[in-house]
């Protein structure tokens, strides 16, 4: 394959192959395994091989900033209405308040928010303190 036209044709072929895959009935799905070859990425997503979906789920800078702020405010105020709750965040707003991770995901889905434009946060959890893994070298444990 030579030149842009050929590359475009090849990409189109890959998309066609992908369109025959099992999950293509929902073409905007962020969980579609071959999404990285799609010519158009959803907003905020980088179509890099295998990194695409994680980008989409985690590269929502403004929602992330908002979630961190709400999380810190909630942790500093035990009387906050968000204390002990799971929050669904979209468009830099709290759009769901739920008692469990299952509920917050279900309600975000029901309101039409996808993985690319919403996220959740455990309002009272400490996301700022690094998680310590005290295990010894995993590779040695495994005998490698």
């Amino acid at each position: 394959l030579k030149g842009q036209a050929a590359t475009g044709a090849f990409t189109a072929h890959l998309v066609e192959v992908a369109s025959q895959a099992a999950f293509v009935s929902e073409p905007n799905s962020l969980l579609f395994t071959l999404d990285w070859i799609r010519p158009q990425a959803p907003p905020g997503c980088t179509p890099v091989k295998h990194a695409f979906k994680l980008d989409c789920m985690n590269d929502q800078a403004k929602n992330h900033e908002f979630a961190r702020r709400i999380n810190r405010e909630t942790r500093s105020d035990p009387a906050s209405p968000y204390a002990g709750k799971y929050l669904g965040i979209a468009d830099e707003q709290v759009v769901v308040i739920a008692d469990s991770l299952a509920d917050v995901n279900a309600q975000l889905d029901a309101q039409g928010f996808g993985a690319h434009n919403s996220l959740w946060v455990e309002a009272s959890a400490d996301y700022d303190t690094p998680i310590a893994f005290w295990s010894v070298d995993f590779k040695r444990m495994g005998g490698g």
């Binding site: 994680l54 991770l101 893994f133 495994g142």
Partner: protein, 135 residues
């Protein structure tokens, strides 16, 4: 009613076998994870550590990134993944930290943190060759 599941130690290490559910198809695929009581505290916001590939396949929705230290160092994305442990009647989403495969224990698919283990009664239940969970 008490339910218990036991697994033989793998290379002398305690493990948990559970299923991850693919959001789109509902397909359940088994994974073997290191049961690591030294992974975080009861308060950490994550219950599992999985590879990037598994979270790309089984992840439902993201949350904010986490920083980790010790045996796994760096800042990593987190997401929710639906797990099932039929023997214990467990079927729910959990918060998962996503790390490169190379950072996971050799020959295992990931790690269950202390927070996850602490939601059960856990241990060898009198048999040194096994590790198990009980509800």
């Amino acid at each position: 009613l008490i339910a218990r599941v036991l697994w033989p130690l793998e290379k002398g290490q305690p493990i948990v076998r559970l299923y991850l559910r693919e959001p789109r198809t509902g397909i359940l695929l088994p994974r073997t994870l290191l049961a690591d009581t030294g992974a975080g505290s009861a308060q950490v916001p994550i219950e599992l550590v999985l590879s990037e590939n598994d979270v790309a396949r089984f992840g439902e929705r993201g949350t904010t990134r986490m920083v980790s230290s010790g045996a796994i160092r760096g800042e990593f994305p987190t997401a929710s993944v639906w797990i099932e442990l039929p023997t214990l009647d467990v079927s729910r989403p959990v918060a998962v930290m996503t790390v490169p495969f190379a950072q996971l224990p050799q020959d295992l698919d990931g790690i269950v943190t202390y927070r996850f283990l602490n939601s059960f009664t856990f241990g060898n239940f009198g048999d040194k060759t096994q590790f198990g969970l009980e509800t």
